[in-house]
């Protein structure tokens, strides 16, 4: 069965009035036994603060070894100004603090991962491949050194990939096959000639993301007025997704499938009809 563990370091939440600037949450003392609800800490003041807080809140899933990732739609729901999010994310990407990946969900989903987490994941993959007695593991080193360092976009063309990898040594087609097998590169339906960077071992969580979204939306649509209090919604568990409810809520609010509004008894989440 799925073990959904609420991370014990459920971050220090700050008090929040909806749509107001938020102080950095770390300044408040963290109460470990109290689970801070999402409606109290929906927005943050800054993209990097939001990224760090959400990375800390990423649910720990024991079966899959995936680095904590944050969806771009979650960032949109956490910071008030979307243009500010885009620009700050661009700055962070150029400074090589984070990396952005395009997920193959059919919609415009982008995942943001801190570069250190990503490199750790790549190392883990390399170790696993070495353990399986594969030769030619130099390709991973070249990949890390030349490609990841210089190519900051989520996609790369075939010729460019070959030319960047050949900075390390002679490149053959089998090497690229190795990279695809390791899960570091994929192809998507958009363009047959382009490779897209991917997060290794993302498969399970990717499925969980899609199913969780569907489940949460259908849960709300079944209600008579298609709405529910956020506090109540947070307590529910999703059957098909090990990612916790807060993750999906932030994602759907950011991608405008759900909208929130303030009432006298708290924040209400409603399916958006536009």
């Amino acid at each position: 069965m799925k073990n959904i563990t609420n991370p014990p370091e459920t971050s220090a939440g700050g008090k929040k009035r909806r749509r107001e600037e938020e102080e950095v949450g770390c300044s408040h003392a963290a109460n470990d036994d109290q689970c801070f609800s999402l409606q109290d800490e929906l927005t943050y003041s800054d993209t990097s603060v939001a990224l760090r807080m959400m990375r800390a809140q990423f649910p720990r899933i024991d079966q899959a070894s995936v680095p904590p990732f944050i969806l771009q739609s979650q960032l949109y729901s956490s910071v008030n100004d979307r243009t500010q999010v885009d620009r700050e994310l661009e700055l962070l990407r150029r400074d090589k603090v984070v990396r952005v990946f395009k997920l193959n969900t059919g919609q415009d989903d982008h995942a943001v991962i801190f570069l250190d987490d990503y490199l750790n994941q790549v190392d883990r993959i390399v170790k696993r491949m070495e353990g399986k007695k594969q030769n030619d593991t130099d390709i991973f080193k070249w990949f890390k050194e030349h490609v990841v360092d210089s190519k900051l976009e989520p996609s790369i063309g075939h010729h460019e990939l070959c030319s960047l990898l050949s900075l390390g040594g002679k490149v053959k087609d089998e090497h690229i096959t190795l990279l695809i097998n390791a899960g570091l590169l994929t192809r998507q339906l958009i363009d047959p000639d382009m490779y897209w960077f991917a997060i290794p071992n993302i498969g399970k969580l990717w499925k969980a993301l899609l199913q969780g979204r569907k489940e949460l939306l259908s849960l709300l649509k079944r209600k008579r007025h298609k709405e529910m209090f956020m506090a109540e919604l947070e307590k529910k568990r999703l059957r098909y997704s090990p990612l916790d409810m807060r993750f999906h809520l932030r994602d759907l609010i950011g991608s405008r499938h759900l909208k929130t509004f303030q009432t006298t008894s708290g924040l209400v989440v409603r399916v958006s009809t536009d």
Binding site: T83, C162, S166, D191
Partner: protein, 450 residues
């Protein structure tokens, strides 16, 4: 209001700023007009709207039932409710019953930019027809290789009268009215071209957006496109900062022709060969690529550039009136603002929900409170152009909205959609009623009761 007029009289406010203030107040109070109505003769969804460029008076609409109609926006044909609601019937319309009418849907109807004597319609029956307005006859026909998605004529053109046509064929064709033949064929897109737009700063520059997600800039005086917009080439402000711009373009990329400022055709070729030498790769692939490039005409080198501006098809393009920025709407439900000089994505995020994915949409912009009017499914949203936030939402259509057209002389917004209606959104406010009275509406002053 009266104080503003007085301060203009005494010279405290300049006349320009007075009229700008008045215009922006009117625009921010736009709502569904309770004084004006267009009686739409169309039996299908209305795909295209354009107000004429010379007077700002005549509205041309094209619909899916193959009909095109012209309305007079200033003079009503008759009125209802004792003169309070002005009904505007169409001045004339050409439809399937007309001997020269289109057989299938009219996807695009635009005025001849010099005067209202001619208008051009493009239709799914593969024809572009040029009509004479006064006699309502088709003067010239152009046969296209595929369904016509969009036609455009340059409003700045002094020396050419070319109609740019985007069809389901990968090539964009320019048709010349004066000679009746095709003057240019622009190749470069990899899929049909859904939106074409002439530049508002140069009569020779054409922007096209294709179903492959690419936006290309063409200078019709030379071969090939000179820029392909890439959504990953970004700048962090509405104008590129001088120093950062060069730092961004330090990327070693073999085939990106969109790094700013390099318009010469020779440079892409030297960049290719230069980068080949730098990498020192002697693999078979590189030499094949080199020979492939050598075989191509320098104007065709841009076909190798596969950069995309959107993750889906580009469904709408609109250049701002000052010619500095280009707005593009895509079927990935994003609207992006591009700087036309540097070709960079300005990373402005417009809070759109879903946009129509299968049909082209028409965006509208207004200058003074810089707003973008976007049809988002059944509503029309107005976003601030420099903030990306929603300022106004117009709900009134029963089905999805296809086009928005902003009439800046009257500050009115015309929208049309799949519900076959053309709706007018005019500035609300009773102060205007005092100032502007329709003279032809005779008020019966004896018609009152307690």
């Amino acid at each position: 209001m009266w104080q503003a007029i007085q301060s203009r009289e005494t010279g405290r406010t300049r006349p320009n700023s007075f009229s700008n203030q008045l215009k922006s107040r009117r625009i921010s109070s736009l709502q569904l007009s309770n004084r004006k109505d267009f009686v739409s003769p169309h039996r299908g969804s209305v795909n295209s709207l354009q107000v004429d460029l010379t007077e700002g008076r005549y509205l041309l609409s094209g619909a899916s039932d193959g009909s095109a109609a012209v309305f007079d926006t200033q003079r009503a044909t008759d009125s209802e409710a004792s003169g309070l609601i002005a009904k505007h019937k169409c001045v004339f319309s050409v439809d399937k019953g007309h001997e020269h009418g289109h057989k299938f849907a009219v996807s695009s109807a635009v005025w001849y930019p010099i005067d209202t004597g001619l208008f051009v319609t493009g239709s799914f029956d593969h024809l572009i027809k040029v009509w004479d307005t006064n006699t309502a006859q088709a003067v010239v026909d152009f046969k296209m290789p595929g369904k016509v998605y969009r036609t455009a004529m340059s409003s700045l053109a002094m020396s050419h009268t070319l109609i740019a046509a985007g069809t389901e064929d990968v090539q964009v064709r320019l048709c010349d009215i004066a000679s009746g033949a095709f003057s240019h064929t622009l190749s470069g897109h990899r899929d049909g071209v859904m939106s074409v737009e002439w530049s508002t700063s140069s009569e020779w520059v054409l922007y096209t957006g294709g179903c492959d997600g690419a936006i290309r800039f063409w200078d019709i005086r030379r071969a090939g496109c000179f820029r392909v917009l890439d959504q990953s080439v970004t700048q962090l402000g509405v104008r590129p900062p001088i120093l950062k711009h060069t730092a961004v373009n330090n990327k070693v990329s073999a085939e990106k022709s969109s790094s700013g400022g390099k318009n010469r055709l020779k440079t892409p070729q030297s960049k290719h060969t230069g980068s080949q030498n730098m990498k020192g790769s002697s693999s078979v692939k590189a030499s094949v690529e080199k020979s492939r490039q050598k075989r191509l005409h320098p104007g065709m080198l841009s076909t190798l550039d596969r950069a995309t501006a959107h993750y889906g098809a580009v469904t709408g393009l609109k250049a701002t009136n000052d010619g500095m920025y280009l707005l593009s709407a895509g079927s990935d439900s994003r609207i992006k603002l591009w700087d036309t000089q540097s070709g960079c994505n300005t990373l402005l995020n417009f809070e759109t929900g879903r946009l129509q994915t299968n049909k082209a949409i028409q965006l509208a912009t207004s200058d003074d409170p810089a707003l973008v009017f976007v049809p988002c499914m059944k509503t029309v949203n107005a976003f601030g152009m420099w903030s990306g936030r929603t300022t106004l939402m117009f709900r009134g259509h029963y089905e999805s909205v296809n086009t928005c057209c902003f009439n800046s002389t009257d500050q009115e917004l015309y929208t049309s959609g799949a519900d076959r209606q053309i709706l007018v959104w005019s500035p609300g406010g009773s102060m205007e009623d005092d100032m502007v009275q329709d003279e032809e509406v005779a008020e019966d002053k004896d018609n009152w009761s307690d």
